[in-house]
């Protein structure tokens, strides 16, 4: 895969993923040569990736690797300089409304409409998507129950803890029963009980045919939870495939460190051992 920026402005050709002739093999999410530059800084430098339908896909990378930028471009929040993304074969940037119906997203670092109560926020997310009010009401009840938020359903989101906010945002992303879930750092600042609660829901969702893509920098979690993984650093994909392929006998963490490089220098800092 060629990087668009060193030899720009030639964008990579963006063939659409296999069309209806092989419907079973159309990936749930296909990224084609995504690239984005902020001023002088190249955040994403030509990322192409296939997320197979029905997979639990982890995207790992160091801070500043371009994970959030990539996922924002894949979900229609940030317009790419080059390339595009396909959700079940629908081009996110050519047919945004159709693509967004298939996706549920949990962006990282954005605010919520936090002057609404938890239940109002999730209902709002459903009604915005044009869902029927009765369906929204029953789904909100079930979601809040499953995420253990029923007790605080009437509390304003502004008074929620960080972990509760993640959970209510996840509920907002699930309300329309999407076929693909894109979650940016879903486990950040979530307590262990809630985290296993969320994991249970996601695993059930994948088991029934949904596709989940999560970004994280907790290698252990990704290794245990995901079946596929992509390692991203400096805006490029360094390795991608099933977890077993990528880790190649080692643990994912060891493989990650050897791929990304750095962080192995342990000499020096002698004064730290002399107290």
């Amino acid at each position: 895969m060629s990087a668009p920026y060193p030899d720009h402005p030639v964008p990579e050709p963006t063939p659409a993923p296999a069309a209806s002739s092989a419907a079973a093999t159309v990936p749930a999410l296909a990224l084609r040569g995504l690239a984005k530059r902020f001023g002088q800084k190249i955040a994403v430098n030509g990322i192409s990736l296939d997320v197979p339908a029905g997979s639990f896909y982890g995207v790992v990378g160091p801070n500043g690797a371009g994970k959030t930028t990539t996922l924002s471009m894949a979900t229609g929040l940030l317009r790419p300089d080059h390339g595009t993304a396909f959700v079940h074969g629908v081009d996110v940037w050519a047919q945004p409304l159709e693509a967004k119906k298939l996706m549920g997203i949990l962006p990282d670092g954005v605010r919520l409409f936090d002057r609404l109560s938890g239940e109002q926020l999730v209902s709002y997310s459903g009604l915005l998507r044009g869902m029927d009010r009765a369906v929204v009401e029953s789904r909100v009840r079930e979601l809040l129950g499953a995420l253990d938020l029923a007790r605080d359903a009437g509390t304003l989101v502004v008074d929620y803890s960080a972990g509760m906010r993640k959970k209510i945002a996840l509920a907002s992303a699930l309300i329309h029963a999407p076929r693909l879930l894109v979650l940016d750092e879903p486990f950040e600042s979530v307590d262990p009980v809630s985290a296993s609660n969320i994991r249970g829901i996601l695993e059930q969702y994948v088991a029934s045919g949904g596709t989940v893509i999560v970004s994280s920098h907790v290698m252990d979690l990704v290794q245990r939870m995901c079946d596929h993984v992509a390692v991203v650093a400096a805006g490029r994909v360094l390795a991608a495939g099933t977890v077993d392929e990528v880790r190649d006998g080692a643990t994912l963490e060891e493989r990650f460190v050897s791929l990304v490089g750095g962080g192995t220098r342990t000499e020096g800092l002698e004064w730290l051992r002399t107290f």
Partner: protein, 523 residues
């Protein structure tokens, strides 16, 4: 340590500018305003040099008392204490409190309000430059007074830090603060009248105040000039002692605050309250309207402007009572319509990055626009009717009723249409969600001003037909023009409203991600 903290504060100030050159422009405007106020204050104090000593003493002491009170009260009511050097941020550095304290106090002076206070206080030295002894006394007094201001302010903000951090207090205090701000005119007039009535009483008040911690420091120069050396000595002691007590109390509170950070607890409430979402239709536009109206009632940034609305008739009524004629009162309905409609011109900016939900859900631009306008209409339409009929009744100008109603409805719908276009394309620098409506917003202040001015200009052009009909009736006195306005206003306004929602919606559909990127930048 003190030098460290001062240079840290200075660095923070400078780095703030590096985010955007427009921030320098905004800061420069604030500095020019402050410089003007400071210059006026200093000039007044210099002029007092040649005034009668008793008048000078009264003015200096009472002014000083107000200054101290201001430093204590303003951070309380605006909940916008300067937290760039929040003591909480130093907890992990194990800085000895004895060194942290003077550093924080002096750093508190580094900033526009601090520098202005210092300069004005030094102005009192000129007032008492009537001999070496009064001059020295005034200088010591000024320095003590400024320190009292800063330390008292820090003490109060530390003491109520928990309260200030609580959302409910913030919400309420920032809304209540709107009231004196809007009614500043009548309040100042009333105060001046009151002062005129009690002019003989002021020197006595100043004398009493000069024996209290609030005024002691400011009275040193005057007392020495009058030869009251013993009194001056006693007041010097009072000023020193109160500064010491304030600093001691601050020390103790800070010591406690460093180990027990304020916590904000909320009570949990059960499900079952759909609120306004149960009232509006269950469509995307209806949901947006329900959400926006909820915000109008719950978010102080919106609720603040709602508090202003009932105060408008009071303002107009007051102006009428001053001039003895209530005819101008009929302008209250069109003005309200205009203000309410224009208030949603920065609606997307108020959403901040929460707008991501609209983008992710694939809300169509026209539904987004329509919902926001409906929420505003729900409040504004009844208000406009009540104000139109009410103002006609009070002023007795029933012959103007059709014209004013038509003009108000025209202004309301035209304004909503225009605001729907403006807020779909340009972001404004507005306070972030959860922040005080008075907090200096981050981001592009200059673009905000340009957008606001250009928008108002466009509004004036679009309203030419309505304005022309008002002028026509005023000149000819024929009611026919009023009835014409009643037809033209709603028809023309309605058409512009539909066009605005369509155009704004199309723009938002096309540029949604770019709008979101701007919002994320402004954050």
């Amino acid at each position: 340590m003190v030098a460290h903290l001062l240079s840290l504060k200075w660095r923070l100030l400078l780095n703030g500018f590096r985010r955007s050159p427009w921030q320098i422009v905004g800061m420069a405007l604030g500095a020019i305003y402050a410089a003007g106020m400071t210059l006026a204050g200093v000039a007044g104090l210099v002029a007092l040099r040649w005034a009668d000593p008793q008048i000078a003493q009264t003015a200096v002491v009472l002014g000083g008392v107000l200054l101290v009170a201001g430093w204590v009260l303003v951070p309380l009511v605006t909940s916008s204490a300067d937290l760039t050097l929040d003591p909480g941020r130093f907890t992990t550095f194990a800085v000895p409190l004895r060194q942290l304290l003077p550093g924080l106090a002096l750093a508190g002076l580094l900033g526009i309000p601090g520098i202005a206070t210092l300069l004005v206080s030094l102005g009192t030295v000129v007032t008492w430059a009537r001999g070496v002894v009064p001059l020295a006394g005034a200088l010591i007094g000024a320095l003590l007074g400024v320190l009292t201001c800063v330390v008292a302010s820090k003490l109060v903000t530390t003491a109520v830090a928990g309260l200030l951090a609580s959302r409910r207090f913030k919400d309420i205090s920032s809304i209540i603060f709107f009231i004196p701000l809007v009614l500043a005119g009548p309040i100042v007039t009333g105060l001046i009248q009151g002062l005129n009535d009690s002019r003989d009483y002021l020197p006595g008040l100043a004398r009493t105040m000069s024996w209290t911690p609030l005024g002691a420091a400011w009275s040193l120069g005057g007392d020495l000039d009058a030869g009251h050396v013993a009194a001056a000595g006693a007041k010097l002691l009072i000023a020193f002692a109160s500064l010491a007590v304030l600093a001691g109390a601050w020390y103790l509170l800070l010591k406690r605050a460093m180990v027990t950070p304020p916590s904000t607890g909320g009570t949990s409430r059960k499900a079952g309250k759909a609120g306004l979402f149960g009232v509006f239709p269950g469509t995307p536009a209806g949901a947006v309207a329900a959400r926006c109206l909820t915000y109008w009632l719950r978010d102080p940034r919106y609720a603040g402007s709602l508090v202003v609305v009932p105060l408008l008739p009071i303002l107009f009524f007051f102006a009428g009572s001053q001039s003895g004629s209530y005819e101008l009162l009929i302008a209250v309905a069109p003005v309200t319509a205009f203000l309410m409609a224009w208030s949603i011109s920065a609606d997307v900016s108020y959403d901040n990055t929460a707008f991501a939900l609209h983008l992710a859900a694939g809300v169509q631009g026209k539904d987004d626009r329509l919902g926001r306008a409906l929420a505003c209409l729900t409040i504004a339409l009844p208000l406009v009717f009540v104000f139109t009929v009410g103002s006609a009744a009070v002023s007795g100008k029933w012959d103007w009723l059709p014209n004013i109603l038509g003009c108000s409805l025209g202004a309301l719908f035209t304004g909503l249409g225009l605001a729907s276009v403006v807020s779909a394309r340009w972001t404004s620098a507005v306070p972030a969600p959860g922040e005080s409506p008075f907090k200096k917003p981050p981001g592009n202040t200059a673009q905000t001003m340009v957008v606001q001015f250009a928008g108002m200009g466009a509004m004036a052009v679009l309203l030419i037909p309505e304005i022309a009909l008002v002028v026509a009736q005023a000149v000819t006195g024929r009611e026919l023009f009023g009835w014409t306005a009643l037809a033209v206003g709603p028809l023309l306004g309605g058409a512009l409203f539909v066009a605005g929602v369509r155009l704004g919606g199309a723009w938002l559909d096309r540029r949604g991600p770019e709008m979101f990127a701007q919002l994320a930048d402004n954050r």
